[in-house]
């Protein structure tokens, strides 16, 4: 019986909810009196991935690698330069603005900073009900009843519904943000560094809440973060980005045990272990800084900092290939990496 359910769930999981193909977002660099475009910042440069129904896809990378831009482009909060985002088979990027409005409730977002993401002049109940009001759902009374229900569900007392954002703590504010997204009954929630601005203890509470909500509401998460331990805790699969490109996609266990891209390996080795007695020998210190996304290196973008780089790396850009089942990597030397991982 249990097995059957498990099987059913995995079948459901294999269904693809969102597919991103060749997504690009270039920001123009303008200079001079006449605001001539003198170059482009390639924030997101030709990335493709998919999210299965019901899973949590972690998206990691260092600051400025295009994680947030990816999330914003999927939600069409900023317009992409090229590419497609298929949600249940519908290309969101080709929809008109009016048609896109219909899909907005289905794709929601939780923001990083719980202090600036809530309108300081609105009461908690109005912030949470904003989406319902915009979509003209329910009467005033019905909306507030729903607000009460969802506040309760995210762990806020409905007695606080008349308070203003400044009267809440950071964790409580983030719960308001979650309730605001949840009340629209979404399928996909983009958590854009949703816990990065919170204390570690509060982080754990919010992560557990997100976990519970996923089960109860059948949610799919795109979890953007820079903290690997957080991503490891919550994700099913992990996408690693570097300078606007995806370098590796894998199941989280696979990624942590068998990273096939040198950058992933360096990133994992930089993850702190909260134990002072552990002496780490395997730490990989990368040389140099992240190059500018306005003028990325030729070939593989990681080659100037890579300890495994060979001449081919600066000439030919490695494509993102599925080298093992469900394990994608963009490196010429993934076979050598397997040997190294031993």
């Amino acid at each position: 019986m249990e097995k059957l359910e498990e099987q059913k769930r995995s079948e459901k999981k294999s269904e693809i909810l969102l597919e991103v193909k060749n997504l690009k977002k270039y920001f123009p660099i303008k200079a001079g009196v006449f605001k001539r475009t003198v170059g482009w910042v390639k924030a997101v440069d030709d990335i493709s991935f998919f999210i299965r129904k019901g899973e949590t896809l972690g998206l990691v990378g260092e600051s400025g690698c295009g994680k947030t831009t990816t999330g914003q482009t999927i939600l069409r909060l900023i317009e992409p330069t090229a590419g497609s985002v298929h949600y249940n088979g519908v290309d969101l990027l080709s929809l008109s603005k009016r048609k896109m409005k219909k899909y907005r409730p289905k794709l929601q977002v939780i923001f990083q900073d719980p202090y600036s993401s809530l309108d300081p002049r609105m009461r908690a109940k109005d912030i949470i009900a904003e989406g319902l009001k915009s979509a003209h759902i329910g009467s005033r009374k019905e909306r507030y009843e729903m607000v009460k229900k969802y506040m309760d569900r995210v762990g806020l007392s409905p007695l606080y519904m008349n308070r203003f954002p400044h009267e809440f703590s950071g964790g409580q504010r983030q719960r308001i943000g979650i309730a605001r997204a949840l009340i629209l009954n979404p399928e996909l929630i983009v958590c854009d560094e949703a816990v990065s601005a919170l204390d570690v203890s509060i982080q754990a509470q919010i992560l557990n809440l997100l976990d519970d909500l996923q089960k109860d509401f059948n949610l799919t998460y795109l979890f953007i973060a820079h903290d690997l331990s957080v991503v490891k805790h919550i994700s099913d699969r992990i996408v690693v980005m570097y300078l606007g490109k995806i370098v590796e996609i894998a199941n989280k266990h696979e990624l942590f045990i068998n990273p096939l891209h040198p950058y992933t390996k360096a990133l994992l080795s930089a993850n702190p272990i909260p134990d002072p007695t552990v002496k780490r020998k395997d730490r990989i210190i990368l040389q140099g800084d992240v190059p500018s996304p306005a003028n990325p290196p030729s070939g593989c973008r990681f080659h100037p900092r890579c300890w495994m780089a060979k001449p081919i790396c600066s000439q030919k850009e490695p494509p993102l290939n599925e080298v093992q089942p469900d394990h994608y990597v963009a490196c010429h030397f993934w076979k050598e990496m397997i040997e190294q991982n031993g």
């Binding site: 939600l75 909060l77 409005k101 907005r104 409730p105 929601q108 977002v109 923001f111 990083q112 900073d113 600036s116 993401s117 809530l118 309108d119 300081p120 002049r121 904003e130 989406g131 009001k133 915009s134 979509a135 007695l159 008349n162 308070r163 009267e167 943000g177 605001r180 997204a181 629209l184």
Partner: protein
């Protein structure tokens, strides 16, 4: 059952607790107000001005419009506190009734120019790009003229009357508010909460008028108070030049103008309305400065 009683008891306490920071804030504002002397003086002058305007029909001893040739050009006395003009009208009565006209002009001009300016400014700042370019270039065109000259041109083109004075001053004055509101809107639209509101599906007009506009109002209101003195001066200037309110109506500027040719022998005709203008303009300037200082976050706390 238990939870209900807690909820009921909690309601009143919650109500007070919730408003406590707001009450404290107001107390602090009042304290700053009292300690800023100029703001207090300004407030007193403006309150007196408004009270006089409200109770004008009760205060006036004589009819301010109809002429009385037997009592013309009388100097100030107990009968005629400010004297009489060349048509024998009591100047004190005319100054008192004139306050109503000035107040009416200030009110309508503030409403029209403040409203128009804020609306256009928010639209320009929110949409940016070419909408912004068009609106701001129009604003620049208005700002390129000296404001009194432009107001004169409008008043002359429309013909002298109270309504046209108000229109002329409003058309000249909205640019300041448009620039202010635009700057504020540009700042606010970049806030993450605006992005959050867009993500839950709110449209442009909803975001613009329900979320961006309210945040733009407080600097606009401060500026409006500061501009009220200028509004009176412009109205009086137009009146003085004969482009403003028509003669029988006791507008202060035109009253100063009326006494012009008698100034050497009968000084009181021009002087008293002039003093009234000076006091009210001073009052508004003090009040505006005071409000600006009180709102200044560096002064607060």
């Amino acid at each position: 059952m238990k939870s209900i009683t807690i909820e009921k008891r909690g309601k009143l306490r919650d109500f007070i607790a919730r408003r406590k920071p707001i009450i404290e804030d107001w107390k602090h504002t009042l304290y700053l107000w009292k300690s800023t002397k100029l703001a207090m003086i300004g407030t007193v002058i403006i309150v007196i001005f408004i009270l006089i305007a409200i109770f004008a029909p009760i205060i006036v001893p004589y009819d301010p419009i109809s002429s009385n040739m037997s009592a013309r050009l009388q100097p100030p006395s107990w009968d005629h506190l400010f004297g009489t003009d060349q048509f024998g009208r009591d100047i004190f009565s005319r100054v008192i009734v004139g306050s109503r006209i000035e107040l009416w002009i200030i009110f309508l001009v503030s409403l029209i120019s403040g409203g128009l300016g804020t609306f256009l400014g928010v639209v320009a700042g929110y949409f940016g790009k070419f909408v912004d370019e068009i609106i701001m270039r129009i604003t620049d065109m208005f700002l390129a003229f000296p404001s009194l000259v432009l107001a004169m041109a409008f008043a002359a083109a429309l013909g002298p009357s109270l309504t046209n004075t108000i229109i002329a001053i409003s058309v000249v004055g909205w640019t300041v508010f448009a620039r202010l509101a635009r700057a504020e809107a540009m700042k606010i639209k970049k806030q993450p909460y605006i992005e959050a509101i867009r993500a839950v599906g709110a449209g442009n007009s909803r975001i613009m008028f329900l979320h961006v506009l309210p945040m733009c109002l407080s600097p606009v209101l401060v500026q409006l108070t500061l501009r009220m003195g200028t509004i009176i001066l412009t109205a009086a200037g137009l009146g003085f030049l004969g482009l403003g309110v028509r003669p029988p109506l006791p507008e202060w500027g035109s009253m100063v103008s009326d006494g012009r040719s008698y100034l050497v022998a009968q000084w009181w005709i021009s002087t008293f309305p002039g003093i009234a203008i000076a006091f009210v303009v001073l009052g508004f300037n003090f009040l505006g400065d005071g409000i600006r200082d009180i709102m200044d976050p560096r002064l607060r706390r």
